[in-house]
Amino acid sequence: MNIVKREMKANAKALIFWCIGVLVMVGAGMGKYAGMNGNGDTINELMSEMPASLQAIMGTASFDLSTAIGFYGLLYVYLIVMATIHAVMLGSNMIAKEERDKTAEFLLVKPISRSTVISMKMVSALVQLLVFNLVTLVSSIIIVERYAGVDETTGTIYLLMIGMFLLQVLFLIMGTAIAVFSNNATKASAVATAILLLLFILSILINLSGNPDLLKYVTPFKYFEAESIINHHQLEPFYVSLTGILIIALTTISYIYYQKKDLNL
């Protein structure tokens, strides 16, 4: 329990900054929506005829930008990017920082097992992800409803946020796994974020090429896309289970490997 408290305290400031960031993002983003007048149906019709690669480059996808939720869908991509960067850095830092700051010895000579250490750190990280997610959720609901007026958007926002939370957890664990496997503590978060950037750019390339093929399973950024969630009102069960499996697999590997890890003290 002490570890959880300690971790929360160490990350409190960063978390507050991130929350302010996401608040500004939702507020400013949706504020822009208010300034935009509806494009009208003809443009929407035209847009929907557009091949996927062109939509990607025009930056619209098949969102109905004249509705608040459609515009929110546009923002969602960036919310996801923010949330996952936060998560992956949290995950890799919580493991790597003990070695980097030379506190590993202090921590690991305490009468607790390494798996307890990891579990406690994980609990604290999950709480932080939850806080991040709830701040996004509440601010989104309040702000989007101000523009939408219709209640049915709230359900969609819940779904979008569940998708975001799954990705957050996935990237948290991914960061942890990378840090556990990396021999160089200072490089761990750099590697983790490099992989994240790579996956993000890959998802853009997939949008651009129009035919996703196998690659869409490789990048989690394609798992929960605002477009399909808004249009079909559900998360795709296949991707939910895929994410679940990945999370479980990576967690297990991290636990097992961390037990035996050679630490640079």
Partner: protein, 265 residues
């Protein structure tokens, strides 16, 4: 001179990795151009079925977007993102790494002034960026020449591609400036990613909503690629702001760094 060479050597590996990644992104994006160009042609035929006033409104932007130059500008957005992270990392590292690696005492007991130290470091960083940019320019010119379907303005391409260096200098300055303020940068990548992505997202919001006010806030939008394609010219007021930021951040960093409390243990 020794310091300069030492720094160059220290950043050799990351610089090479960044350069290769950026070149890889260029190649990946440009490899998709032929398919994209086919899609665009097909859509042009669809466009003919729509009312004329509508196609005229959308057609103009459309033609800019779908030729090789417009397509490159789209890819360039993500190259800028990577380039900005690289430059920000460099800026943060050159100032903060002596403290982090506990080499400050070793360095600052040498008979050199802090100004000399920072100048060598800055020059080494600029050299690294130059190297990346040369490789980048070369790869762009070759790939664009290979995939082009029609003639394009070579001057426009040069002007867009060259703006990467300008953007990187801004972020290098911002990185240095940030690092002289924070007493101890524990992890370079967390700070740089957070800041770069904040600017990037503001940039995306600003360009997807055509907000002129927000444009001043984010270096990503100081050079507008589509403006270059149309006018073959930079927007001078933004270039001015960029240059002012570079000068101010660098000068202020020097002033503050000379008096900064540097932890030696």
């Amino acid at each position: 001179m020794n310091m300069f060479l030492q720094e160059l050597k220290a950043y050799q590996k990351p610089t090479i990795i960044w350069s290769i990644s950026i070149v890889a992104i260029v190649i990946l994006f440009m490899a998709l151009f032929p398919a994209f160009s086919r899609d665009a042609d097909e859509f042009m035929k669809v466009l003919e079925g729509f009312p004329e006033e509508l196609t005229r409104a959308i057609g103009l932007t459309f033609e800019t977007l779908t030729n090789v130059l417009g397509y490159f500008s789209y890819a360039f957005l993500y190259i800028k993102l990577c380039g900005a992270v690289q430059a920000m990392n460099l800026g943060l590292s050159i100032v903060s790494k002596e403290t982090r690696n506990k080499t400050a005492e070793f360095l600052f007991t040498k008979p050199v002034t802090r100004t000399q130290v920072l100048t060598s470091k800055l020059l080494a960083a600029v050299t690294s960026l130059l190297f990346t940019n040369l490789l980048f320019l070369f790869s762009v010119i070759v790939t664009v020449e290979i995939v082009k379907t029609a003639d394009y303005s070579r001057q426009g391409l040069w002007m867009i591609a060259a703006s990467l260096f300008f953007l990187q200098l801004i972020f290098l300055g911002l990185g240095m400036f940030t690092a002289v303020f924070i007493p101890r940068v524990k992890s370079v990548i967390s700070v740089s990613l957070g800041l770069v992505f904040a600017f990037f997202i503001v940039g995306m919001i600003s360009s997807s909503t055509d907000d002129e006010g927000l444009r001043y806030l984010t270096p990503f939008n100081y050079v507008n690629d589509y403006y270059i394609i149309e006018h073959l010219n930079y927007e001078m007021q933004y270039i001015g702001i960029g240059l002012a930021i570079i000068c101010l951040t660098v000068i202020l960093s020097f002033v503050i760094y000379r008096k900064k409390d540097i932890h030696s243990v």
